[in-house]
Point group: C2
Chain length 389, copies 2
Amino acid sequence: MSGDPTAPVGEDVLLARAYLVRVAEPPAPAVSHLVELLGPVEAAARIRGGADLGPHVGAEVGARRYDDRSATDLAAARALGARLLVPEDPAWPTAAMAGFAGLPRHAEWVAPLALWVRGPASVNGLAATEARSVAVVGSRAASGYGKWVARDWSASFADAGLTVVSGAALGIDGEAHRGALAADGTTVAVLACGLDRAYPPSHGRLLEAIGSRGLIVSEYPVGAVPAKHRFLVRNRLIAALSTGTLLVESGRRSGAARTALAAQELGRPVLVVPGPVTSALSVGNHQLLRKGYATVVGSAADVVGDLAPLDGRAPLDDPARDGAPAPTDGLSGAAVRVHGALRGHAPQTVPALARESGVLPRTVVGALDELVAAGLVVPDGERGWSRSV
Amino acid sequence: MSGDPTAPVGEDVLLARAYLVRVAEPPAPAVSHLVELLGPVEAAARIRGGADLGPHVGAEVGARRYDDRSATDLAAARALGARLLVPEDPAWPTAAMAGFAGLPRHAEWVAPLALWVRGPASVNGLAATEARSVAVVGSRAASGYGKWVARDWSASFADAGLTVVSGAALGIDGEAHRGALAADGTTVAVLACGLDRAYPPSHGRLLEAIGSRGLIVSEYPVGAVPAKHRFLVRNRLIAALSTGTLLVESGRRSGAARTALAAQELGRPVLVVPGPVTSALSVGNHQLLRKGYATVVGSAADVVGDLAPLDGRAPLDDPARDGAPAPTDGLSGAAVRVHGALRGHAPQTVPALARESGVLPRTVVGALDELVAAGLVVPDGERGWSRSV
């Protein structure tokens, strides 16, 4: 089922993307921009040919540009039952990745050039599940309380039809995947290494189960090792592939909290499980709440409710879904969410829009500026805002 | 020390207030309004004399109006080492009670007509401590976790110089008083019965300790029983006598959560201790956080910081303190707080003002309307607000 040969993407595009995603260590903003300008085949040809494409592209590709392993990587993936999912594929999670478009380029939070995927959920790709998914993240050194919440709630998410996305790490990640699998739900593991690697080693069987019943995803080719910086880069994909991110437990300094901040940047809701103030593993959670970056949740039902479509449609406006251009094309993820929250409503205030869109009040204010500039929203009444059409 | 004979309040005022606070079961908005209009002595004389003062006053005083026990009540209080604190007394907590002035009268959240007080802290009355105090409230059926937080944090509050205010109930209340006493701090118990009653009975020794080292306060005369509705009415005083209210633990329906809402109405910060989502005793806390009515706190230091004076002055503007009229006289508690948060600052946005004042964003917006109407605040820049003078 995976590695579907009917995918209507030319071999030249697959080879070009396989080449690009290996020579430009993610995230690669300059190479991504070049691909936007020239398309993947032309961009790959110029990089491979040694053309002078400016200092930024040069720095991103380095000497690797002359070492084209694309055919080998694609073959290795096929041997593993995996395939390369590319933006040209209908199964590409276009709406999920649209969040990156609104971010300042210097933030380096760019969309991936391609994704290696393995598992039955890849039949429809990530696009089918992205509208109803939740990233469940937290500390590797989790407490019994945190592990219980991750596993129990993830089973409830699966029951409610949500895909559970996580990073397959020890602690919270593993329990989230296990909870979803136990409830016969769909779960997606985003790795910081090649799809052939079992990392952490003790999660070999768990990864096998996810790969055979859900989906394993990575930006890194077969054989790539889980270098430390790749975990941080990987975290942005966990956030991007989810409608919202649930932080179960995090200490004072935490990679999971970074995933939550990535979700915030992408304009997605960040939900936080409170815990005892006596637990060092809840300190990061409570800090995030105190900073106003997140919403507290008291039950799995709270999470499902908070991530439910705003009015029967997916919470992410997806211009790719019907082919017609959407009025919010090119706007930031936050602006798209705020625009969605204004749908069919009387004039809304900033606090009301923040509540309904899951976007921070200060970000709502910026998003309204953006929407007014785009002619989509007008001030309406004393403190309200409405759609202009 | 208590029952200080040097208090410069005439016996006629004390007798009138003692009469009024007994014949009009609190809260008595119509009688309170009459006292504002006529003064306590004249108002008491007219009520006692059976004058037709309209249906509202009539309903509030009922047949009790012909049963003047004021002399007996004052004598009973003196015998107990207690006295009647009245608004005419310099020790009256004027700033604390000013919060009630901004509330709609129909809400019945009116200031007390007088307070029976007992304990050494009454030398300076409540006015001296009100600027730095915290209400610590929560369930009677508290968990070990909640009790630990209440006692440990209250000791820290005492160390930081904050007066700990609570209701002397079982569970969280008792632990709060005990924590403050253990740290040699000042603690105030607000009762729903006469100062002679030990309620709950098992807290007899605790109440003795509070009365001898802190302060016991009640609207009810010696001998009054703790009727159920009096607990709800009493809760508004716990909120009013505190700079902010800390909710330690609360279940789905909770009187303590009601105290928190009273604090919110009064424009005071509501702080909430998070707990395990697996505990039914934290459900009320998490609901309050989700509704946006409260701020989460992760440590005693968070609470002390959140309740600290804005810039070295008390967080409540007190027109009574220097005798001169303040520009914010007659404004709501929320408006006074927002005005305070604008002190010495560059233009502030609504979210920033909400953060700094501890007032809800939607209440901030209303408070800004009020301040603009009063000529105290002007819009400044794109989304900012500044003081006009």
